[in-house]
């Protein structure tokens, strides 16, 4: 028998869900509103909601004061680059752990995940020294590699869960059909895991896009992505909330739009193949 849900209960849950959703969305809404206020309206107390003189001056100021296109370009290169590199390394890794597991496969997986628990600041010095020694400070390639390494455990884990869902017999069939390892991964495994790989790619781009610790600390001018671009508006001479908000909106707009269009894939990615 289906569970009986009364109309009243349904309404209650709907209202609750909306309230919760709005609560989560509020910071973005507030940033959006603030970005159209003057600096004085932005810090007005009590806060002004919708009825103020909407202005674009913050956006103009942000454009004038900094190089948005360059930061955007850096963000794109770093997030997409680190994701592609990560996928190239993670596919064979996840393949081996999903289809030819050894005695220690589970341990390796857990160990990889445990590296995510390491406080990032703990490796800050070694990494900065290493980067300086290699002469790659403030370079895109450094950020691509570092962000790839940081997100690699998640990419491997996600791909591993997707690959586990693929029946091994199909891969065996491809081996019987004369496929070598390269063909097996390229023509059979990858197309079958494509939805999973797509989710992983999307999620990883978002993670890399939003990563602020390393991107701010390892860059100054040349490789500074949007996260550093936002940070530059919380200047020592005081906080300019309206400009900061405008910069934030410009920084999150691309990823917000991408996320909106790929909601379905993302949900699948975030549920980690829990639902078949």
């Amino acid at each position: 028998m289906a569970r009986a849900i009364t109309t009243k209960q349904k309404m209650m849950w709907t209202v609750l869900a909306w309230a919760f959703g709005l609560l989560m969305f509020f910071p973005i809404l507030w940033t959006f509103l603030t970005s159209f206020k003057t600096e004085s309206t932005a810090i007005a107390d009590p806060p002004v909601w919708f009825f103020f003189d909407w202005t674009l001056e913050n956006y103009t100021a942000v454009q004038e004061r900094s190089n948005y296109p360059k930061a955007l370009m850096n963000s794109i290169i770093i997030s997409v680059g680190s994701t592609i590199l990560g996928i190239l390394i993670a596919v064979p890794a996840a393949w081996s752990m999903a289809f030819v597991p050894g005695k220690r496969t589970k341990d390796v997986l857990l160990w990889m995940l445990s590296t995510k628990m390491l406080p990032a600041v703990g490796v800050l010095y070694p990494l900065v020294l290493l980067a300086k020694w290699l002469g790659v400070m403030d370079s895109r390639i450094l950020l691509v590699v570092v962000l790839m390494l940081i997100n690699l455990p998640i990419i491997v884990w996600m791909l591993y869960t997707y690959f586990k869902e693929i029946p091994g017999e199909i891969l065996e069939a491809s081996r019987m059909d004369g496929a070598d390892l390269r063909s097996e991964i390229l023509y059979v495994l990858t197309p079958m895991a494509l939805p999973g790989i797509a989710s992983t790619v999307l999620l990883n781009i978002i993670l890399a896009w939003n990563e602020a610790f390393w991107t701010i600390l390892l860059t100054t001018v040349n490789a500074a992505p949007l996260t550093a671009f936002i940070a530059s508006f919380s200047a020592p001479e005081g906080l300019f909330y309206a400009k900061l908000s405008a910069a934030s909106m410009m920084a999150i707009a691309p990823i917000l739009i991408m996320g909106w269009f790929s909601q379905k894939q993302l949900v699948r990615g975030l549920t980690f193949g829990a639902v078949k």
Binding site: E172, A173, S174, M176, G178, D180, S183, M192, L194
Partner: protein, 334 residues
């Protein structure tokens, strides 16, 4: 093409040896069935031949060449899996084409072979569908089509009919036998169903716990089972195995009598019992007889229909020349 020899092949998973040293000769063009209860190592044996599992020791040669270390792709064998193992993202056409694509065969030849295979397997109308849109029987035919176009030295079938319903299974069984007649290629077929083994095989290999219990033609196995295990496994319903004084009368530890080699009477006979369940198939009747004092439950197979009600007293008499005798080790006494 299609001569396969196994020489002292063993397989262990960790500490557990699932295949003790095993020798087997499979001749060109033979239809060989590996049969045994689940967990007897028959699938492992097939996978060793396929190259999907590595042998722990011993040698496998295909057409005289040592194939022990060859990867599956290089052995020139084709396999049909129980789960069909079709590529879900490819159309039927692409599924069948896949092995040829891997072998680098030109498009025109591929096309001709696909058409021919599709025609032979009644798949012409389904070539552009995806496996998900096909029925179980059709999927199995696609899997067979994919195997045929490789023109393999031998076909390996791993319980290919287990996922099909009973009616379809009989049909596919005939199709596979037809295919064997037509191609005359070596086929190795794994099943736990002794009826499939009996009806399809030129040669049956009965396995138990990784050990070959007997190799022979279906009728050899039926008439002269080498031991109690084979006697009990081959034939349906199962052979009745009787221990004790009744066996001693025949100078044996155990005697076996097949259900079809017992005659039934309501008035007199060698052994007396009580009718349990009677299964009426129309052509035959299986009667399960209790309280014979010889074994828990004896099965009798009578041609045609016979009236037998639950609780009736019944007399059974074995055909004297059809009694199988086994010694204390369970081996046949000639």
């Amino acid at each position: 093409m299609g001569q396969i020899t196994l020489n002292q092949v063993t397989k262990s998973f960790g500490e557990a040896q699932v295949i003790p040293p095993l020798d087997l000769e499979i001749n060109e063009g033979e239809f060989v069935v590996f049969v045994g209860p689940s967990g007897c190592g028959k699938s492992t044996l097939l996978r060793l031949i396929a190259g999907l599992e590595d042998t722990t020791s011993g040698h496998i040669s295909i057409d005289g060449k040592d194939a022990t270390e060859l990867p599956p792709a290089k052995r020139g064998l084709a396999m049909v899996f129980q789960s069909y193992a079709l590529y879900p993202h490819m159309s039927v056409r692409k599924n069948i084409a896949f092995p040829m694509r891997m072998a680098g065969i030109d498009e025109a030849t591929q096309k001709a072979k696909i058409e021919a295979a599709a025609k032979a397997l009644n798949l012409t109308d389904y070539l552009d569908r995806k496996p998900g849109q096909l029925s179980g029987g059709q999927r199995q035919r696609v899997a067979i089509g994919r195997a045929i176009v490789r023109e393999p030295a031998a076909f390996l079938f791993d319980e290919p009919l287990s996922n099909l319903d009973a009616a379809l299974r009989v049909g596919m069984r005939l199709e596979i036998m037809e295919l064997h007649e037509k191609l005359a290629t070596t086929m190795i077929y794994v099943t736990h169903d002794q009826v499939e083994a009996m009806t399809m095989a030129d040669k049956i290999v009965v396995l138990q716990a990784g050990v070959i219990e007997q190799v022979g033609s279906p009728l050899e196995l039926y008439h002269t089972p080498r031991n109690k295990f084979v006697a009990g496994f081959i034939g349906s319903p199962k052979m009745n195995l009787i221990d004790g004084p009744e066996a001693a009368k025949h100078d044996a530890t155990t005697i076996g009598i097949r259900p079809e080699h017992l005659t039934v009477s309501k008035t007199e006979g060698a052994w007396k019992g009580v009718v349990g369940v009677a299964e009426h198939l129309g052509s035959d009747t299986f009667i399960h007889v209790h309280d014979t004092g010889l074994m828990d439950m004896m099965t009798v197979r009578i041609t045609g229909d016979i009236e037998a009600r639950h609780g009736d007293t019944i007399y059974l008499t074995p055909l004297a020349d059809q009694i199988h005798r086994f010694d204390a080790q369970g081996l046949r006494i000639a």
